[in-house]
């Protein structure tokens, strides 16, 4: 596992938490050329001062930055009964309180054993994960041995850095065991996809400093305070790195205050802009009102049951929304950013026009369970069902990637289409279950026709999820199991007793253990 996930050069067609609702927009645009030039020259004048300050605090910074060594092992989603090889990697982290270490989730994902060391320490100290947040790529760690903290220091969180201001990236890149500091300039602040989960989109700060494997989890420092955590690099150009800003870090720290990490909430709607006058007139929207139209409300999202397609959203929490979906006050922040900063249970309030009448709608923010299968997952076992040598699993991102790597690029359009379209689940269904491979045995020699198809029902009962399929198979007293797949008119027929007998041989032959 690389210590740092490279940001994809081309954003894959993923169901991004915000893209899901609407096309991603940049949270902050470039300031005008004039403003950036002024800022640049101001920053030039400030650099000697800042550098002096950095020099003064560099010893204190050294005391707070740690190197992390991780031995990890993941499960193979394509063969979920097997584990992959054991790999070693390194990353960085820093103390943010007396005995808490902050780093990236991807540094410690799938870890079986972790250890850490501060600058000038000779001993490695065993680490444990207190909280891990894959959706924002952050983790909080702790060392149990108090000796590790002797003569240590912790860093304070600062604010969002200004564009064109300098930041120092501190860490242990490319395997070296000596601390490294590299300086970059903040070149862009925007909302972007986090490569670790491949779906969640939050604020990022782009810097023109090299962020290399091993840098991950290290602090980005400005004026002696942490302004972000180094976490990913761009493959588009050299020396472009990204840091997670403090707003996201604070969201994470606040979330875990009650001892549990809950994760981000989702509004669960799709919207479209309202630039068209005819479109606005059709819905009777006065010219003085700005906002966006709701086109779809996703089931189980926060807005489910509260907003409707055709609603015209004019304000969120009293802050007016423009025709392009940005907040009017700044015209640079997507209104969804307001939801991104909330926690489960907090209220979201919309001013809207529905059926030509102005109204207010309030509802509680909540997580969307179906997002879990859209997100790359770590440190977990993949649940599966083998029946008659046929392997069934929940459609999820990890399986889809493993499926693609196994050369299954043809014939899986149903599986792929349903994965990318969050609205294909039928009422009562919580996930898609796919027959994605078979362990060859004479009993399943005729089943290729059904490979890569999504299960619709078993003996006439609509399958809600993998557990439901398992229950149906286990509890069935029927001699024959009749499995219907989406898109195929003929069912697959299996003899329950024959399949159970074959499974004993198959599990032995293919070394299936557990589950």
């Amino acid at each position: 596992m690389p210590a740092i996930s490279e940001k994809k050069a081309v954003t894959p067609n993923i169901m991004d938490s915000n893209k899901l609702m609407q096309k991603q927009k940049k949270i902050l645009h470039y300031p005008s050329l004039f403003a950036s030039t002024i800022l640049f020259f101001i920053s030039l004048f400030l650099i000697p001062l800042g550098a002096e300050e950095s020099r003064q605090s560099i010893d204190e910074i050294r005391k707070s930055v740690v190197q992390i060594r991780v031995f990890s092992q993941a499960k193979d989603p394509f063969s979920p009964w097997m584990s992959s090889g054991i790999s070693a990697s390194t990353g960085s982290g820093f103390l943010i309180s007396k005995n808490r270490i902050l780093t990236n989730a991807h540094v410690v994902s799938n870890a079986k054993f972790m250890e850490t060391q501060r600058n000038n320490q000779t001993e490695w100290y065993e680490l444990k994960v207190l909280f891990i947040a894959h959706d924002c790529d952050l983790a909080l760690l702790e060392v149990s041995d108090p000796e590790f903290y002797n003569d240590s220091n912790y860093l304070e969180l600062g604010t969002l850095p200004e564009l064109a201001s300098p930041v120092d990236i501190v860490g242990y890149p490319i395997g070296g065991n000596k601390i490294s500091v590299s300086r970059g300039i903040v070149s862009r602040i925007e909302q972007s996809t986090y490569a670790h989960s491949q779906i969640d989109s939050h604020l990022v700060v782009q810097v023109d400093a090299a962020i290399n494997p091993g840098n991950s989890g290290g602090p980005a420092i400005q004026n002696g305070k942490v302004v972000g955590v180094a976490f990913q690099a761009s493959t588009k150009g050299e020396n472009i790195g990204y840091i997670i800003p403090t707003a996201v870090i604070q969201h994470f720290l606040k979330d875990i205050e009650d001892g549990i990490y809950h994760g981000y909430v989702e509004l669960g709607i799709q919207t479209q802009s309202s630039f068209s006058e005819s479109h606005r007139q059709f819905y009777g929207i006065p010219n003085t009102e700005e906002g966006v139209f709701v086109t779809k409300v996703l089931s189980q999202g926060s807005a489910d049951g509260h907003l409707k397609p055709g609603d015209y959203l004019t304000a969120i929490d009293g802050r007016k929304i423009g025709r392009n979906g940005n907040l009017l006050e700044s015209n640079s922040i997507d209104f969804l950013e307001i939801v991104d900063n909330k926690f489960a249970g907090e209220e979201i309030q919309f001013d809207l026009i529905r059926d030509k009448k102005k109204m207010k709608v309030k509802f509680a923010a909540k997580k969307m369970p179906q997002m879990e299968n859209q997100r790359a997952r770590y440190g977990m076992n993949y649940d599966y069902l083998v029946f008659g040598g046929l392997v069934f699993q929940t459609v999820n991102r990890d399986l889809l990637e493993a499926w693609s790597k196994n050369g299954q690029t043809q014939g899986g359009s149903l599986l792929v289409y349903r994965f990318y379209d969050a609205t294909t689940l039928s009422v009562g269904q919580s996930e898609d279950v796919v027959l994605y491979r078979k362990l060859p045995h004479p009993i399943n020699s005729n089943s290729d026709f059904y490979l890569n198809m999504v299960v619709e029902s078993l003996n006439g009962v609509r399958v809600k999820n993998l557990n439901h399929l398992k229950e149906l198979v286990e509890s069935s007293k029927e001699k024959t199991l009749r499995i219907q797949f989406y898109g195929i008119q003929l069912p697959m027929i299996m003899d329950r007793e024959e399949a159970e007998r074959a499974d004993l041989e198959i599990k032995k032959s293919y070394h299936l253990t557990g589950n």
């Binding site: 068209s276 086109t295 149903l414 898109g487 003899d495």
Partner: protein, 491 residues
Amino acid sequence: MPFFKLNSKLTFVLLLLCIGPIFGKSIPVVPTDNSILQVKVTVQYPHFIQPWRFKNPEVRQSTGIYVGDQKVLIPAQAVYFYTSIEIKKPDSLKVFTAELERLDPDLGLAILKFNDLNAAKDLKPVTFPSEIFLPGTALVMESKDQRSLEEKKIRMIRLDMDSYSSGYTELPYIEVQSEDKLDGVGELIVDTTARIPQGILYQFKENNMGRVIPSFAIQHFIEGKSFPFKGFRFKPLIDSATRNYYGLRKDDLGVLVAEIYPGSSADGILQLEDVLLEVANFKIDPKGYFDHPKFGKLNLSYLFHNTNDNDSPFEKKIKLKVFRNKKPVSLEMDLKPLPESAIRIPYGNSRFQTPKYLMLAGLIFQELSEQYLTEHGNQWRNRVNKELLYLNDFYRIKRNANEGKIVFLSQVLPLSGNKAYHTANQMILKTMNGIQIQSLDQLQTLVKESNSPYIHFVTNDGFEMIFKKEEIQKLNAEAKQSFQIQKDSNF
């Protein structure tokens, strides 16, 4: 014809021996016959992504075979979207022109007719008999450039059934093998000893294997007849669990009816999940084969699609025996050609269909076809909208006669009047003013006849596009001028 009432293989073979010579006008073809011609066709394919445009013209060379009455037989693939046809006779510098007379997209053959009545004066027509000699060696007769006729050797291995060059209907073909490099562009195949025409080579691959259209199918086409289609697809029935479920005994034969085309020969006769046990008194094995007395094991489609005079089912009632709801049922089927109306998403070859488009307010609407998707390059499966891909994979054929075409918004021509929708593309159109859309013709009529002041489009994922009715023509005029598009629609 009593043939299908006979059950004994021996009787069948004896009958073949007796009636064979009556049907077979076995006229040999020799190199001096002046039957093999060179055909140069210039084609200009339409652009499926920008359907108001055409691609650059290309030249296709193929072999033509003179079949008499001013007619030349060539592969259909060579003449789709032709702009000019030139034919050269052996040892002649003069070029004659011709026009397309007829084409069968499933058989992959076309007939050209000379424009000049004198063109065929010294040509000797080739007659395609109904007999073929399998297995055996044969000669490939081809004419290249200005050189004289060349002959290469080929081995004819077996007769089988499959669809040709992305056609829709399975038809008989002869599998061949050769050590020589061949083109597979309509060369004539004659048997080595008697030089009787055996067929036309229409495909030859790098593994030295090729396919020949058998002479009896060519004869049938030249006579102007259409090809029958069974109207259903089947699934092998080889596992015991499935066989038990459908009530079959261990030794029973049969395959499962898996798909029925609406309006076809099978529509109203067969049902999904029927087990097809016998066709024309031939027993069908669990993989879908029967024992042909001359050609050995053949796919059951032969009993429906074959046009060999000796055992052709065309224009006859075919007897079927099926196992339905665990009871044997006897049925009779009239064979009809493939109903094009059953095709929801055209696939395979272009069948001379120019992609249709309808422009409304600068929005380009099209009907989904496989050609539209494959135009996106080698990686088209990764590039196109996943829902369109899924529909193309699983819903090419209508599941009932009421299902319509897939109408989708392929792109928006950017104008200031439709700027709210510039990024929309590859979205399936669900409704227009609340009415479900099933074809471009219907959409065009609905928009024209609408009394509503607004035209309101909604796509499958809820995206809406709304225009005042008077805006549609104004924006179309602007789009035509700005993007040099001739017409609002091409149908």
